[in-house]
Symmetry: C2
Subunit: 376 residues, 2 copies
C-alpha cells in the first residue's frame, strides 16, 4: 500500500560517515521545512466553512478498513469523452497544482501513468473559497480522492493524457507527501534531447543523475518511461510464455543454488551452504537439459541468472532475468530456428499492439527504433 515512506529512501547504499551526516542534516532541514509549511498552508479545514465536509485530509483511522465500503472508483486511464456529464470518483497522485487567483485551482491527477486535469472553481453551496485554498496548498505527489463530473473542453488539453476535465465537487487528501521531494517527477521524466535543446537556447534544466534516481527509486519509477518499461517487461514475459505454451512447452523452475558452476568456472558467485561450498546458477543449462532427458520434450524458464563478472560498466548486470528455452530436435536444427523465428515475430507484433502507449512513453524519454521484423 502507498505510504509516506518517501522521505526515508528505502534502499540507501552504504555511504561514508561524513556523507551520512550531511544526508541526515538535509533530511532534518526538509522535515523542519515541511512542518513549517503544514502549519501555514495545509491547515485543517476551516471550522467556519459550512462546506468543510467536501474537502480536507482524511485522518488515518478512517483509512483502516473499519467498514466494508467500495467506492466506485474509475481508472483515470478509462476516462473518455463519451462519459461527458457523468459523475466519477478517481484516486491518484496530485502531479501538478496551479492556483489561478483565489477562486480557482487546477490539479493534474495521475494514476498508473495516465493523467487528468481537475478544475476547482468557487461555486456557492458546493465549492468554498477555503476549498480552493486547500487544493492550492496540496503537496505534489500526495494521493487524492477526487469526486466530480466530466466535461469536455473545446480545445485539446496539453498537460494531461485524458481529453476530459473533472469539475471537482469534493476532494480529499488520502496520503500527504512531503512538501519538497528529492526528485521532481518532471525533471526525472525529461529526455537528454530536451535538456540539450534548452541549453542551446540558454536555459539550464535540471538533470537527475543515475545515483539520485537509484537512491530514490520509488520516485523515479513513477516516470512515464519507467512505468512503460515495467509494463513492457511484464508483457514480454507473457508473450514469450503464451507462445511457448501454445507450442507444447512446459515452464520449469530450476535450482539457483547448485553444487558447482553451471558453465565455465570463472564468473560464479560462491557461498556457504551449511558448511559446504555452493554456487549461484549462471544459467539453467544443466537442469533444462535434464528435463529434456527426462522426456519433457520442450521446456522453458523465466528466472534470475547470476554472473559474477568483474565488468563495472553500465551495460553489465551481475543478476538478470533470463528467458531460456530448450527443446528436443526430431530431425533437423531448423526446427529450433522455426520456433525462435515465430517467437520474435509474435513478440514484436504483440508488443506493438498491446503496449503502444508504453512504447511511446519510453520513446519520448529514450528514443529508439520501432520494433519491426524484416523478412527478406
Amino acid at each position: 500500500m502507498s505510504s509516506e515512506a518517501e522521505a526515508s529512501p528505502p534502499e540507501q547504499p552504504k555511504v561514508s560517515k561524513k556523507a551520512a551526516k550531511k544526508e541526515e542534516a538535509k533530511l532534518e532541514k526538509l522535515r523542519r521545512r515541511q512542518e513549517a509549511s503544514s502549519a501555514v498552508a495545509g491547515a485543517a479545514p476551516d471550522e467556519e466553512d459550512p462546506l468543510a465536509g467536501n474537502y480536507g485530509e482524511v485522518p488515518l483511522p478512517e483509512l483502516q478498513s473499519k467498514e466494508e465500503v467500495r467506492e466506485p472508483y474509475t481508472a483515470i486511464g478509462a476516462l473518455a469523452e463519451e462519459m461527458k456529464d457523468e459523475t466519477v470518483v478517481v484516486r491518484g497522485r496530485a502531479q501538478t497544482i496551479r492556483a489561478v487567483g483565489k477562486k480557482m485551482a487546477f490539479v493534474v491527477v495521475r494514476e498508473k501513468g495516465f493523467t487528468v486535469q481537475c478544475v476547482v472553481t468557487e461555486k456557492e453551496g458546493l465549492v468554498s473559497r477555503q476549498m480552493v485554498k486547500f487544493v492550492a496548498s496540496l503537496n505534489r505527489e500526495s494521493i487524492v480522492d477526487v469526486h466530480g463530473s466530466l466535461t469536455v473542453p473545446s480545445s485539446p488539453i496539453k498537460g494531461a493524457t485524458q481529453q476530459v476535465e473533472i469539475q471537482v465537487s469534493k476532494i480529499y487528501c488520502v496520503n500527504k507527501a512531503l512538501p519538497t521531494l528529492p526528485i521532481n517527477l518532471e525533471d526525472a521524466a525529461r529526455s537528454e534531447a530536451e535538456i540539450e535543446k534548452a541549453l542551446q537556447a540558454g536555459e539550464q534544466l535540471v538533470r537527475v543523475n543515475q545515483d539520485t534516481r537509484l537512491n530514490f527509486r520509488v520516485l523515479d519509477i513513477r516516470t512515464p518511461a519507467n512505468q512503460g518499461i515495467f509494463r513492457i517487461q511484464s508483457q514480454v514475459g507473457n508473450i514469450f510464455r503464451q507462445f511457448l505454451l501454445s507450442e507444447d512447452f512446459i515452464e520449469i523452475h530450476t535450482p539457483k543454488l547448485i553444487a558447482g558452476s553451471s558453465e565455465g568456472g570463472s564468473a560464479v558467485f560462491k557461498l556457504d551452504y551449511k558448511g559446504r561450498p555452493a554456487c549461484l546458477a549462471q544459467s539453467p543449462q544443466l537442469h533444462k537439459q535434464m528435463a529434456i532427458c527426462g522426456d519433457f520434450g520442450r521446456v522453458f524458464e523465466i528466472g534470475p541468472v547470476f554472473r559474477a563478472e568483474d565488468s563495472f560498466t553500465h551495460r553489465h548486470l551481475c543478476e538478470f532475468t533470463g528467458l531460456d528455452v530448450e527443446m528436443e530436435i526430431k530431425k533437423h536444427y531448423s526446427e529450433v530456428m522455426d520456433i525462435v523465428d515465430q517467437l520474435f515475430v509474435k513478440m514484436f507484433d504483440s508488443l506493438n499492439a498491446s503496449c503502444k502507449k508504453e512504447l511511446e512513453a519510453v520513446g519520448r524519454q529514450y528514443p529508439f527504433e520501432p520494433l519491426k521484423v524484416i523478412i527478406r
Copy 2:
C-alpha cells in the same frame, strides 16, 4: 536433446571416498555388462536380410541435421480410434519389450507420459524374422522411430494409455539406452499401497528410495507421477499469472542478490559480492512494496526465494518458487480477500479441467484428496 547420459548421473552429490569407489565399481560393472550384451544381442542388422532397410540402429552421422527432413510425426497422446487404418510415424521410448516366440514381439512406446502398444509380426516382404529379433533385443528406454498402421483391438488394452495398436512396418533405434538402468521405470512408478499389498500377499516388490531417485533424477522424472507434477506446476503458474494479469496486475522480477536480509535476520544465505557482504532474498517483500509506492498499483512475482533455516526435514526447502502478490487497497482489506478467493477458485477449477490426466497420474502413485473449493 536426448542423449545416452543416463549412466553418468548428472547431479552426483558429494559422497565419502569409500562410497564413491563403490559407486565407481558399480558403474564399471554396468559398463562391462553393457558391452557384453551389445556384442551379443544389439548386433548390426543381418546383412543377408533383404528387408534390412526396415529396421536397425540409426548411425549418429545420420542424426546430425544433414538435410532438412521433417518426418510427419504423430504425438502418441494424439493416437485415437478414429484414426483406424491410418499410417503413422511416432517417436518415443521403448518402455517394455516382450517377444512371443520368434515371429512376434510387442513394444510399448512412451512419449510424454502416453503409451502405445506396437506389434511386430513376421510377414513376407515386410517384416523379417531378423526384424522381430532386432525388436526383441532392444534395450528398455531406448528412443525408437516406429512406422506402421493403426488397428483397434477388440478387447481393451491394459498395458498402454492409447486404445489403438500400431502394426509395425519399420522400426529404427535412434538412441540406444544401456541394457541395465539403475532404476526400472515401473519400480519407480509404484505406489506405497501397491508395495504393501504385495507384501501381504507374500511378494516383495522393489522399492526405489529417495537417494536413488535423486542420484538418477533424469530417469525418475520419467514416471507418470513426476511427468504430471511438472505439468501441473507449469499450469499452476500459468493460471495464477493469467488470472492476475486479467485483474490488472503487472509481473515483476525483483533482485535476489540484496544488501541486507529481507525479513528477519536469522535464516539468510550470505555471500561475498565483490568484496562486500550480500544476502540472497528471503522474499520479494521490500521490492514489491517499492513497486506499489512506485504507482504500479498491483504487482506479482513468480520466482525463487531462499531460506537458510537449519530444518533438515523432508518438508523443508532452502530454495523454493514463491508465488507472490502485492496490491494497493483502496478502502478495505476485503479487496485483497476477494482477489485471493477468486484466485483459488479459478486455480482449482482450471487445474481440474486442464490437468485431469496429470492429476490422475499423480494420484495413482501418491493418493490425495480432490481439489475442491467448498463455499459455505
